[in-house]
Amino acid sequence: MSEVIVITSGKGGVGKTTTTANVGTGLAQLNKKVVLIDTDIGLRNLDVVMGLENRIVYNLVDVVEGNCRMKQALIKDKKYPNLFLLPSAQTRDKSSVNPDQMVELVNELREEFDYILLDCPAGIEQGFQNAIAAADRALVVTTPEVSAIRDADRIIGLLEAHEIRRSHLVVNRIRMDMVKRGDMMSVEDVKEILAVDLIGAVPDDEQIVISTNQGEPLVGNESLAGQAYANICRRIIGEDVPFLDLEIKNGVLAKFASLFKKN
């Protein structure tokens, strides 16, 4: 029996897809059986970020409409045999699927997988409704900016209204240099405003851009962002992991220090 997690934010561009890709891959690294579902119909990009674009034959809408079997649509990851992707359709739009169909689809997958991650589109309309329909819990992603926080607050309210009470916060793209100067909100500030438990804080990292463009999630590697995502995965499976000290600068000495400081 699996845990169904929706990754949502309200605001676009804060890192939902990046988080889904990295958390999914990280859980697979911990030997869990994971399926990622891209629910952004019409504007899919989870497949691009995972580097699996050229392997897509069937998609989510095909499964819902009965054009293919689930097994035909699921794509196995390049590196991890226990990680699968159910891509979205690029040529349809969000009205092609309704919440009930999503629930049915997810239920079909529950037997086989330990974790089902749903990458939610931005907004609060049909796409969002579809994505949260079958979820047991939510990861709400936000950046430390007022506009993203407003939207995250709205989303948390909507999640509560839909009876999804287990929501955890991911604060993404934190820049400690700006926080110290007082130009950016700290993780504590965001946590206090949204009043939701924190599951991880990911620093802004150039490596993310590189990894996205190459289609290879960076979770688990030596970059700070990679470490942060790995810690989030461990917290999801129930481990109690102390939060990273994000103030480590990316100098040569610091790289050595973090290699020794493996935890």
Binding site: V146, R150, D153, G157, L158, E160, G182, M185, A195
Partner: protein, 225 residues
């Protein structure tokens, strides 16, 4: 033989259907008779009244009203113009009347209002929780927030300027009382967060001289209410 006065009533009001040919004095007798019968049903209630079937002058209407109030325990809340005479219409009038005459009643809500949520109430309201930016609380009466007000509050929604908004931590985006709107000082939303006061600063917002005024809550202020 048709009766000169017919009472058509619902729970909230009475429509008097009057014969328009008989002389006024006879009409008065008919009305008194009918109302004595109706009194058992409407004893001590507030009702709305309307007239149909006969054009009455203002004096005649007054006379009839006096007749009813002096001879029965029925309390006429107001006179309604002819149409529409549906139950809903009477009820609305009655609700307004009743809310204005019970200023000390209110509703209670426990929980935080998140962005996009709207809480609306017909009387006063006490919220135990926060009102986040993007959330709105609308009340016909007063608003008391045991928590932070960071969103929008609209008190006196039916036009009552004597209503107020009180909060343990007063930091609203906008406060409206009746038709007067006050907005927060122009500063980026980030500054508001950065300069967050960690000590509570209970304040009250009320109308003074056509503007919204906010003052720290003190005995003096409460006495002035």
């Amino acid at each position: 033989m048709s009766s000169p006065v017919i009472l058509k009533s619902n729970r909230y009001g009475i429509n008097l259907v009057l014969d328009d040919e008989i002389p006024f004095d006879e009409l008065k007798e008919g009305i008194l008779l009918k109302f004595r019968e109706a009194e058992k049903f409407f004893k001590n209630s507030d009702i709305v009244i309307s007239f149909e079937g006969r054009n009455l002058s203002k004096e005649e209407e007054s006379t009839i009203i006096d007749l009813i109030t002096q001879n029965t325990t029925i309390n006429i809340a107001c006179i309604a113009d002819n149409d529409p005479q549906k139950e809903l219409f009477f009820k609305k009038k009655l609700d307004q009347h009743q809310t204005q005459s019970i200023p000390n009643s209110g509703e209670f809500y426990k929980g935080t209002l998140r962005s996009g949520q709207v809480l609306s109430c017909e009387s006063s309201i006490v919220i135990v929780g926060d009102v986040n930016p993007g959330a709105k609380i609308i009340a016909s009466g007063n608003i008391v927030i045991i928590g932070s007000l960071k969103g929008n509050a609209f008190a006196g929604a039916k036009g009552d300027e004597s209503c107020f908004v009180m909060a343990l931590d007063m930091d609203p985006v906008q406060v409206q009382i009746a038709t007067i709107i006050g907005r927060s000082a122009d500063r980026g939303p980030f500054e508001a967060i950065r300069n967050r006061r960690h000590a509570l600063d209970p304040q009250m917002a009320f109308v003074s001289d056509g503007n919204i005024l906010m003052e720290p809550i003190s005995k003096n202020l409460l006495n002035r209410l």
